[in-house]
């Protein structure tokens, strides 16, 4: 086991900067997920840790060792590739043994490790088969088995579930969780699937444009995003953004003028937003934090018109015309009976509001929210 530490890591391919000076601490025994859209630099970061790419600058530490100049096999890591990268001409057992044989591991140790890993992953009966004779799920297990037998300091996984069908993916996700609990090996996992990231990680690093946008526990990052990118990337449907002008409604009270609507700013944010009166500000609210109100006269209700109703089983997603120019989404109770063109009143959960600077995208209320949660 080992912690992994990245400091000011940069990777350039000719004119393209794939990784732009990231620093990240991956604690020992943690399950850290690098998540972000295609081209955000997450896979390149993983490959830099693996030793499959050379860093342009910066430092990579595994344990206490700087490993920048070490070859892949000298880094004590094992990697699971998106396409599994099983050697097609070797049997499952030969695939699992190969890495150990290359490291001159004694035969009895190889036997023991392969048997143990096969048992753990329930692939004992597949040992004599070749990869082409296995299903996608079985290939995935073998790839994991090959990584496990190495007993490495760090597991590196590059979207290992993305080639599986939806049902198998959910099943393997649970198994990966169990496996990590059993082995407690430091794991760095790359995915673009936010659900995978949220369910597997105990630390999540959201990446975009070669930079880490936010690091933290998944629920914390989800509930208090640092910027509009993180806020919009995590969550499905993604967070609603409504842009308006901040105004002082009465001394010490702020409201956001959204055109046809005004929205009262919660008291805890008035201090931090006070110096932005007269400026444009973006209000962010997640669809699940919007409810339909039966009370037509209460304050802070926003009238809207239903445009699309999407029943999704556990929830119903409504697409609503907010003010003729902006649409927002609300995830409501599946029993809610609304249909297209219905006029409804929306209530925003005042504990789940976020305010962003429209120019930089940075959250204006991140620090206040953090303090509030610490106090709570």
């Amino acid at each position: 086991m080992a912690h992994v530490n990245l400091t000011d890591l940069v990777k350039r391919f000719d004119d393209i900067t794939a990784v732009d000076g990231i620093s990240l601490d991956i604690p020992d025994e943690s399950f850290t997920v690098l998540v972000g859209p295609s081209g955000c630099g997450k896979t390149t970061t993983l490959r830099l840790i693996a030793g499959l790419e050379r860093a342009t600058s910066g430092e990579i530490r595994i344990g206490d060792q700087v490993v920048n100049d070490r070859r892949a096999y000298e880094r004590d890591i094992a990697m699971v590739f998106q396409n599994y990268a099983l050697y097609p001409h070797k049997t499952v057992e030969e695939n699992m043994r190969f890495g150990l044989e290359q490291h001159d591991t004694p035969e009895d140790v190889i036997e023991e490790r392969v048997t143990d890993a096969a048992e753990l992953l329930q692939i004992e009966e597949l040992l004599d088969r070749r990869p082409a004779e296995l299903s996608g799920g079985q290939q995935q297990r073998v790839a994991l088995g090959r990584a496990i037998v190495r007993d490495p300091a760090v597991f590196l996984m590059d979207e290992p579930l993305s080639n599986l069908d939806a049902k198998l993916r959910v099943q393997m996700r649970a198994e990966l969780n169990k496996l990590h609990e059993t082995l407690s090996t430091t794991t760095v996992y790359v995915t673009h699937d936010q659900v995978e990231a949220m369910t597997l990680a105990d630390q999540i690093a959201v990446m975009d444009g070669g930079e880490i946008q936010q690091v933290g526990a998944p629920t914390r990052v989800y509930s208090n995003p640092r910027n509009m990118f993180v806020a919009g990337f995590l969550g499905s449907p993604s967070m609603n953004f409504l842009e308006g002008t901040l105004e002082e409604s009465e001394p010490g009270m702020l409201e956001l003028d959204l055109g046809t609507h005004t929205h009262d700013v919660p008291d805890e944010f008035t201090d931090v937003l006070a110096d932005r009166v007269g400026e444009r500000v973006v209000l962010g609210i997640r669809p699940e934090n919007i409810s339909l109100s039966q009370d037509g006269v209460a304050s802070n209700l926003h009238p809207a018109t239903v445009q699309v109703v999407e029943p999704q089983g556990e929830k119903t997603v409504l697409e609503l015309d907010f003010d003729g120019t902006q649409t927002i989404k609300a995830a409501v109770d599946p029993d809610t009976t609304v249909s297209m063109d219905d006029d409804v009143n929306l209530r925003f959960d005042r504990d789940s509001l976020h305010y962003f600077d429209p120019k930089t995208g940075a959250s204006l209320t991140y620090e206040t929210d953090e303090q509030r949660r610490v106090t709570a």
């Binding site: 693996a50 030793g51 499959l52 070859r71 892949a72 096999y73 890591i77 094992a78 990697m79 590739f81 998106q82 396409n83 990268a85 050697y87 097609p88 001409h89 190969f98 890495g99 290359q102 490291h103």
Partner: protein
Amino acid sequence: MSTKRSTLDSVVDALGLDTEDEWPYIVRERLLAYALLAVYVVVIWFPIYYILITSLKPTTEVLQIPVTFVPSHPTISNYIEIFQNRPFGTFTLNSLVVAVTTTVICVTLGTVTGYSFSRYDFFGNKALLLSIVGARMIPPIALIVPFFSIMSNPPLIGGLTGSLYDTRIALILTYTFFNLPFAVWIMKNYFDGVPESLDEQARIDGCSRWEGFVKIILPMAKPGIAATAILAFIFSWNEFVFALVLTSSPQAQTLPIAVSLFVADDFVDWAHLAAGGMIAALPGILFGLFFQRYIVSGLTQGAVKE
């Protein structure tokens, strides 16, 4: 009627049709297809059959009119005589040495070069590949005179070796020139179809680049290597024009030339020519029969994205 019906039934059974309603149309369609294929097979195989029976006929029967399509007195004396009366052993050895050496060189260089082009992104990569493969686009006939001139008086190593004219080396170098671009192209395509993550997994498993290539990638490239080897071998074994121009004596002449020597100004020794022709054709036929699946998979690798 009943006989006709039962014959059709057996055809229907043989073709694996199970419903009575569909057989008349399908039988007609399939019979037509099989008939066309049968004609094609006859056209393709008849020359080989004809040279085979000619090689097994005594000289008197070869010129007999009407022509016999089954030898009345089959004999292998023609085969024995060409080895006794002419240096056919030497010709065969020359062919083997030239073809095998060319094949080994092309496969070895083609494999490592193809792998390099597939995996390494170096300056001028594409231009270099284009120039190598493009060299093969020149019609070989246009290069006969330059090759004759170069082999007669090699500009670089002439001082050391003297003329390469009428040597096996001249043929090996020439055939390598023509086959290596093919080998590089086939192998590059083949390696393009092998996911790079396998190389990387090998590196993580403890292999150097070279070890990963030898232990993991090369065993997977067997069909590509087989295709390259077969094509290089058959080309070198069959080649006639350059062998005719670059050699003049049995010390370097190959089987195609040896066979042509049975044609004199006023007489063609058909029986011995046929026997020599059969020996010359045998490797090609055998390779075609047993290894054609490798040729197909080797040439089509990378043609479709899986």
